[in-house]
């Protein structure tokens, strides 16, 4: 491949400074984060009293947000690992997007779980007095493992790109240059180095699949290991995993569209990518729908007394609007859009992706809260506000702040590092050209 073309690729994919829009975006995210931090300060001072959680609804939107974050982080393993191991070539430009979503989401999953704790300052007790029989400890172990594997899967493919970045000393400025040198100055593009990282990435890509399945299965077990109607389900692990892949893939489509539009990456994230991701999304939505049918239709057929109130609350009762909103936005409408070839064009695919992500957030809310409002013994001998759950502004601010924080991490990452792997793109283009020649 000629040098000119290579330079063009590098030029296109180098991280760019924030424009006016970028700065507004960052400023508003920081503002949301700051509000969340303020609300958390209030929570630390006054206790969890500032939330709307009470003895019956003892887990609220913090926990559903946690489940959402864990879910969306699974996409890292899907795109980087599953597609890599099955030799899918087209996903190369999407790997880094998926991986940074995974890393930032799993980081904020850990943070939001600390926010939910009544005594966050006693966090160290988990290590001092941890009991291996508690699913929370399993979650701590697998989430930590997943975080580090994801971080390495983000870092290793970045090494050749860091070498390219270091070459642009003038453009980088002092601080970024220092960072690049710190992270990647030992990388010399040597054959042996490539051999080692390739091997490492392959090992990590295999290792991350069981760990990814574990993080979300264990998260589902936080619910499924209890007796409560709506949680007491053997379907829960698979139900959570399928939903997680769906929301993660939806998140990637949204990110693809925004990065492509904002950084003018039409040559690298092509219509074909949206077409293929659209198909993946349809498949995942159908899969999730299948597990939803299992999750709701089977108990609804029996209508056991303990389940009845819970199920009717979802189908026709108090939670019916959110329930049907989530089912339609996370599954039916995206499937309908993406089944058509025109629907898999960038803009409609983006809209479908947004619907999936939004619907999935509310789906997580429905997994957590309604069950808690239908305990085995009737709700009794408690103040009136214990019978309902409407999150307070502090809860919304903290949950919103965590979402904004995750977006901020992704935004800054794309500012500092090439969001599309430069080195791998050059290699891909080369091999494509070689194929043409023969």
């Amino acid at each position: 491949m000629d040098k000119l073309k290579e330079n063009q690729i590098i030029e296109d994919l180098l991280p760019q400074k924030f424009g006016k829009l970028g700065r507004i975006w960052v400023a508003s995210l920081i503002a949301v984060c700051a509000l969340g931090a303020f609300a958390y300060g209030r929570q630390l001072y006054y206790g969890l009293e500032v939330t709307a959680m009470r003895d019956y609804v003892s887990w609220g939107i913090y926990i559903s947000n946690f489940v959402f974050f864990v879910a969306i982080s699974l996409v890292g393993s899907l795109i980087t690992a599953v597609l890599r191991l099955t030799n899918v070539k087209w996903s190369t430009p999407l790997t880094r997007i998926a991986e940074i979503i995974a890393v930032s989401a799993i980081t904020f999953a850990s943070l939001i779980i600390i926010v939910d704790m009544g005594r966050p300052e006693r966090f160290y007790n988990l290590f001092l007095h941890g009991r291996l029989q508690s699913p929370i400890i399993w979650d701590v172990i697998v989430i930590t493992t997943y975080f580090f594997i994801s971080l390495l899967l983000l870092y290793f493919p970045l090494l050749p790109d860091l070498k390219i970045l270091i070459a642009f000393k003038e453009r980088n400025g002092k601080w970024l240059q220092k960072l690049y040198v710190f992270l990647g100055s030992y990388w010399k593009d040597k054959h042996a180095q490539f051999k080692i990282t390739d091997k490492a990435i392959n090992i990590l890509a295999i290792a991350i699949i069981p760990v990814a399945f574990s993080i979300h299965t264990v998260t589902s077990w936080l619910f499924a290991t209890t007796y409560r109607p709506g949680w007491d389900s053997t379907n829960f692990g698979a139900y959570f995993i399928s939903g997680a892949f769906l929301v993660g893939a939806g998140g990637v489509v949204v990110a693809m569209y925004i990065f492509r539009k904002h950084y003018k990456l039409e040559k690298y994230i092509t219509d074909d990518h949206f077409d293929r991701m659209g198909k993946v999304l349809v498949m995942l939505a159908l899969l999730y729908l299948y597990f939803n049918v299992n999750e709701f239709l089977v108990p609804a057929f029996k209508m056991k007394k303990s389940e009845e109130e819970h199920l009717l609350g979802l189908f026709t009762g108090e939670f019916a609007p959110i329930f049907w909103f989530a089912i339609f936005t996370a599954m039916f409408i995206p499937i309908f859009i993406l089944l058509f070839k025109k629907g898999r064009k960038p803009l409609p695919a983006f809209i479908a992706g947004v619907l999936v992500v939004v619907g999935s957030w509310f789906k997580r809310f429905l997994i957590v809260t309604p069950t808690l409002l239908h305990p085995f013994l009737p709700m009794h001998d408690v103040p009136a506000n214990y019978h309902h759950y409407i999150p307070t502004w502090e809860e919304w601010a903290i949950a919103g702040g965590s979402l904004a924080g995750a977006l901020l991490v992704i935004t800054f990452f794309a500012r500092i590092f090439p969001i599309i792997p430069i080195h791998e793109t050059i290699l891909e283009t080369e091999s494509q050209e070689n194929e043409k020649h023969f």
Binding site: Y46, D55, G118, R119, P120, H129, R131, V140, L377, H380
Partner: protein, 302 residues
């Protein structure tokens, strides 16, 4: 009879003075003006049992309130009382929802206003079945789902069957609350309203006092009372003898006024446990609401 007693007391007192005057120079008497020069005798005398097992008469002014005996060590509180297996029997035929149990429990454990460890549910299984009152405490399950899920061993099962909470260790994750099918656990969402004196006490797992912000609380079967040979507060507070407490190994339960052989009581009155199908094996047994002492009546606001 009365004169007899008086004469006996007089006799004891005189002999005591005699013996005191005999040993007076050998042992220090802490209740004398020499030992406590600042205190002026009030003239009102109180009889006390000395450490030697003798009765002594002391001026009231020399008596000082002794701080309450400290609760047992945390390690001991986690162990439990050897050779005991505590059970409770709740006789539904006697309950009319007076809620003295609840008041006593809330008062003695200094529970945050509005929260209750004991709840008295109006129950009705089905449309055409009879309603009844069902007081619930912690079930102190032998297979406690709450203990299973606690990540830090803050809630634990003792060898005497009691399930307790170490509020100094609890991280406030509330997994135990989600796991408990009996909805027995409450959370201190805010700083519990406590008198300064209570709030400053070191926490004891056996008294569950003081409750702490950001941690879980629940009925503890009052092991501190049991250790002293007393009944849990709910048992002694109930005017209708609904609650019976005892030891499964002794096969005895009592509500203070009446004592029963546990196995006979359960057999004769067809005792049962709540949600047996879940396999939690509660330590609380219920006697069905038959031949009731009171009709089921709801008061306003219940």
């Amino acid at each position: 009879m009365k004169t007899n007693q008086n004469s006996r007391r007089d006799f004891l007192a005189t002999s005591l003075i005699a013996s005191a005057s005999l040993v007076g120079c050998a042992t220090k008497n802490p209740f004398t003006a020499e030992e406590l020069p600042d205190v002026k005798p009030s003239g009102e005398m109180v009889k006390l049992l000395s450490v030697d097992g003798e009765i002594i008469e002391v001026d009231k002014a020399f008596l000082k309130p002794v701080p309450e005996l400290p609760a047992v060590m945390n390690t001991e509180a986690r162990e439990g009382i050897t050779g005991k297996k505590f059970v409770m029997v709740i006789d539904l035929s006697r309950c009319k929802s007076v809620k003295k149990c609840q008041t006593a429990c809330n008062h003695m454990h200094h529970i945050h206003p509005g929260q209750n460890w004991i709840k008295v549910y109006p129950m009705q299984e089905a449309e055409h079945t009879a309603p009844y009152w069902q007081p619930t405490t912690c079930m102190h399950c032998d297979e406690p789902p709450c203990v299973k899920v606690c990540p830090v061993d803050a809630t634990f099962k003792r060898k005497d069957g009691i399930v307790l909470i170490d509020s100094d260790r609890c991280i406030g994750c509330r997994f135990c609350m989600a796991a408990c099918p009996y909805s027995t656990r409450v959370f201190n969402w805010e700083q519990p309203v406590l008198e300064k004196e209570i709030a400053e006490k070191p926490y004891s797992c056996e008294t569950s006092v003081p409750q702490k912000k950001g941690t879980v609380g629940k009925c503890d079967f009052c092991p501190d009372m049991v250790r002293q040979g007393n009944l849990p507060h709910c048992v002694s507070a109930c005017p209708n003898g609904v609650f019976m407490f005892g030891d499964l190994l002794e096969d005895t339960v009592t509500n203070g006024a009446e004592t029963f052989r546990f196995s006979d009581l359960i057999k004769d009155k067809a005792g049962y446990r709540l949600m047996e199908d879940l396999g939690t094996k509660p330590s609380v047994y219920y006697l069905p609401p038959v031949n009731r002492n009171f009709p089921f009546e709801k008061e306003k606001g219940q």
